[in-house]
């Protein structure tokens, strides 16, 4: 049998119909929805007199517009309230699981999918959100879709898809202390460009990837879309199986063993061919900071804001000029001289327990800079929030001058009232630094949680490698591990 990649194995296992010259019909194992992109899909289903084929395979969460302050208060934004009501009504009408804003399992859809075990290796997972690529960390084929496709999946539990090309991204060696999964993926995007992965599904391999926790792998897969590839994947291994075991929606006992045996068969066969291969050496990587208005406009923290004339392509020159004007940055400025107004630790990229532990270790016993207007920590889910509180992380953040909030997408996209004001500059652990992303006229610098935490303390970017960090194992208080029961 021809050796196959992880992607090809999952693709083959989900083929419902194929015909030469046409897209294939592939089966979708899990469908995640949220309030922002689903109402029109349900409306379409109803208008056409159709129904939801497998409601038990769709899971809904309220995340994009939820308040991270007091949920007991009424939702003041009538449009957001309308979307919440529509989601609740649609889920009830069609029998879809909903984690609403008051559920103790509520959170960003890409955080709760994995933590509840809804996300599993070998699955096909889609969601009307481009950061669905996150779930590929488990060796699932997961990608974002538009609202028409949400409707399609609701009605048929299938998607019509052309097979993608494959791209192997091999990250060799070991990363330095203070260099995180976020820095690796930012370095990859910097290298291939934000369109470098267009038309491809990426698979991350190599020692540095194998050495990452599931949280780290999720961070990498999450930002795969920022490099243009719709999906990023990591072959499941012992780290994956250990993470899966005991989670609410994961098979138990003998069934779990059956599942693990299947998951083990998913890894890319030796000799399988990729359409493209990219190689990075982890030891050469440093903490990364974006300077422009897309995630590919990124450099090492020890570097300087580039001169637009240093780009060969005139199109890139023009884009860099425009970006620097928007960001109000001068070429040649050392990245560490850039001061920030606000710090945001959160989003589907970096809001999991490991991220919060890492940031907490940096800020423990210190205080945010006086010049800072706001420092926000927004856990990715209410489970993460409870776990962090059980470890005393909330107290560390509060003592250091951070705000400790409820779970949601928050300032990554600014659809609730967590908005970065015009002209202000953030250090943000989120995924997009597009113009206006965090608020009209706002200026975003993407960094890792360690870097964001250190920037909060100093008021400007610093090289966290010079600090005593790498706090993934940081647990100041006692940990409770009985959160798996719902």
């Amino acid at each position: 049998m021809t050796p196959r990649t992880l992607y090809e194995k999952i693709w083959d296992a989900h083929l419902v119909h194929e015909q030469a010259g046409q897209p294939s019909l592939i089966y979708i194992d899990r469908h995640l929805i949220h309030e922002g992109t689903s109402p029109q899909a349900f409306a379409g289903i109803k208008a056409a007199g159709r129904t939801v084929r497998r409601p038990e395979l769709t899971f809904a969460a309220m995340d994009h517009s939820v308040s991270t302050k007091n949920r007991a208060l009424p939702v003041l934004d009538p449009d957001a309230a309308g979307q919440f009501e529509a989601l609740a009504r649609n889920c009830k009408e069609f029998g879809v699981n909903l984690f609403d804003m008051h559920s103790r399992n509520q959170g960003i859809v890409h955080v709760i999918g994995p933590e509840l075990g809804i996300t599993q290796p070998g699955f096909t997972i889609v969601c009307g959100d481009s950061h669905t690529s996150t779930h590929g960390a488990f060796g699932a084929l997961a990608f974002g879709i538009g609202t028409s496709e949400i409707e399609h999946v609701l009605a048929t539990q299938c998607l019509s898809q052309f097979k993608s090309k494959t791209m192997k991204i091999d990250v060799r060696g070991k990363r330095q202390n203070g260099v995180t999964a976020k820095d690796i993926i930012l370095a990859i995007i910097g290298k291939i460009g934000i369109a470098g992965g267009n038309g491809h599904v990426a698979e991350y391999t190599g020692e540095a990837v194998r050495g990452l926790s599931m949280e780290g792998r999720m961070t990498m897969c999450n930002m795969t879309i920022e490099g243009g590839a719709r999906a990023g994947m990591v072959a499941p291994d012992e780290t994956t199986f250990a993470y899966m075991e005991g989670r609410p929606f994961v098979p138990r006992g003998k069934d779990f063993q059956v599942a693990v045996d299947y998951w083990k068969s998913l890894a890319t066969d030796p000799g399988a061919q990729y359409d493209e291969t990219i190689t990075l050496h982890a030891e050469e990587l440093a903490p990364m900071v974006t300077w422009g208005t897309n995630p590919g406009m990124v450099t090492q923290v020890t570097s300087r804001v580039p001169d637009p004339h240093s780009f060969k392509d005139p199109v890139d020159q023009k884009a860099a000029e425009r970006a620097l004007e928007y960001m109000a940055l001068e070429p040649g400025t050392p990245m560490q001289d850039i001061t920030v107004d606000r710090v945001f630790i959160g989003s589907c990229t970096n809001s999991r327990l490991e991220d919060l532990r890492a940031a907490a270790k940096v800020v423990a016993g210190k205080h945010v800079a006086k010049s800072l207007k706001q420092a926000l920590v927004v856990p990715g889910s209410r489970r993460v929030k409870v776990e962090a509180e059980n470890e005393g992380l909330d107290k560390i953040f509060l003592d250091a001058g951070f705000e400790w909030r409820d779970a949601g997408c928050s300032m990554c996209i600014g659809m609730n009232d967590d908005v970065l004001p015009a002209g202000e500059r953030s250090a943000s652990t989120s995924n997009r630094n597009f113009e206006g992303r965090q608020g009209k006229g706002s200026r975003t610098h993407l960094v890792s949680p360690l870097m964001a935490a250190a920037a909060a303390i100093e008021g400007h970017f610093v090289d966290v490698r010079t600090w005593d960090v790498d706090g993934a194992d940081f647990r100041p208080g006692k940990s409770r591990s009985d959160l798996n029961g719902l």
Binding site: G146, S148, A195, V258, R432
Partner: protein, 213 residues
């Protein structure tokens, strides 16, 4: 979906690379529940000054581009968020065809679901079209999907390729879901087949976990 066969119209030129869908429809407009009415907010932050006053410096506000129905763009058009609000806004504004050297995957796919034709041309061809559009006020193009050619009134003729299946769907304005449901028996057979352990398909204890309010 309205079919796309052939379209002739005024051309507007948006000379920016990597235009993301956050620019096409900023977040504050993602809270609506309709597919219509987004034309007004297309490129909102670029197009308007405070108070929704048109920004005279933004190309779509140039009087010469009023009523344009074809837009020229640069590489990686539509990158970022999967929001289908972006193509909805493009269509609602009045654009039927986009001409660019490349597109982001999700956006490209979303265009076909909404009767918009995203034509892919080479960088050189795009440069020429940008030149002609900027030089000639009232510059018009004809985009013919049946023949797979772009032509102007000065004799320019570029052919383009597009996936035959996508072309067919757009020419006929076919409903995707209807096409898939033709295979309903195969879907049902796949669900029963149990290639893998049943635990992979059936969430454990779903009823127990149901939280619908």
């Amino acid at each position: 979906m309205e079919p796309f066969v052939k379209h002739t119209g005024l051309v507007a030129a948006l000379d920016r690379v990597n235009v993301d869908t956050d620019q096409m429809v900023p977040k504050q407009f993602l809270k609506l529940q309709t597919r219509q009415g987004y034309g007004r907010v297309l490129f909102y932050d670029w197009r308007y000054l405070p108070g929704e006053k048109p920004n005279p410096e933004f190309v779509l506000n140039y009087p010469r581009y009023k009523a344009a129905s074809i837009i020229l763009a640069r590489a990686n058009f539509g990158c970022g968020s999967s929001r289908e609000h972006a193509p909805w806004a493009i269509l609602d504004y009045g654009f039927r065809a986009i001409l660019a050297p490349s597109y982001a995957d999700i956006f490209y796919n979303n265009c076909f679901k909404n009767g918009i034709l995203p034509v892919t041309l080479t960088n050189d061809q795009m440069d020429e079209l940008f030149r002609r559009t900027e030089k000639t006020e009232g510059y018009r193009l004809t985009v013919d999907l049946e023949q797979q050619i772009v032509t102007d009134e000065q004799g320019l003729r570029y052919s383009f390729t597009v996936d035959p299946f996508r072309r067919d769907c757009l020419l006929k304005g076919l409903d995707d879901i209807g096409l898939t449901l033709v295979h309903a028996n195969e879907i049902a057979a796949f669900e029963k087949k149990g290639v893998r352990s049943p635990v992979m398909y059936q969430p454990v204890d779903v009823k127990f976990h149901r939280e619908a309010t």
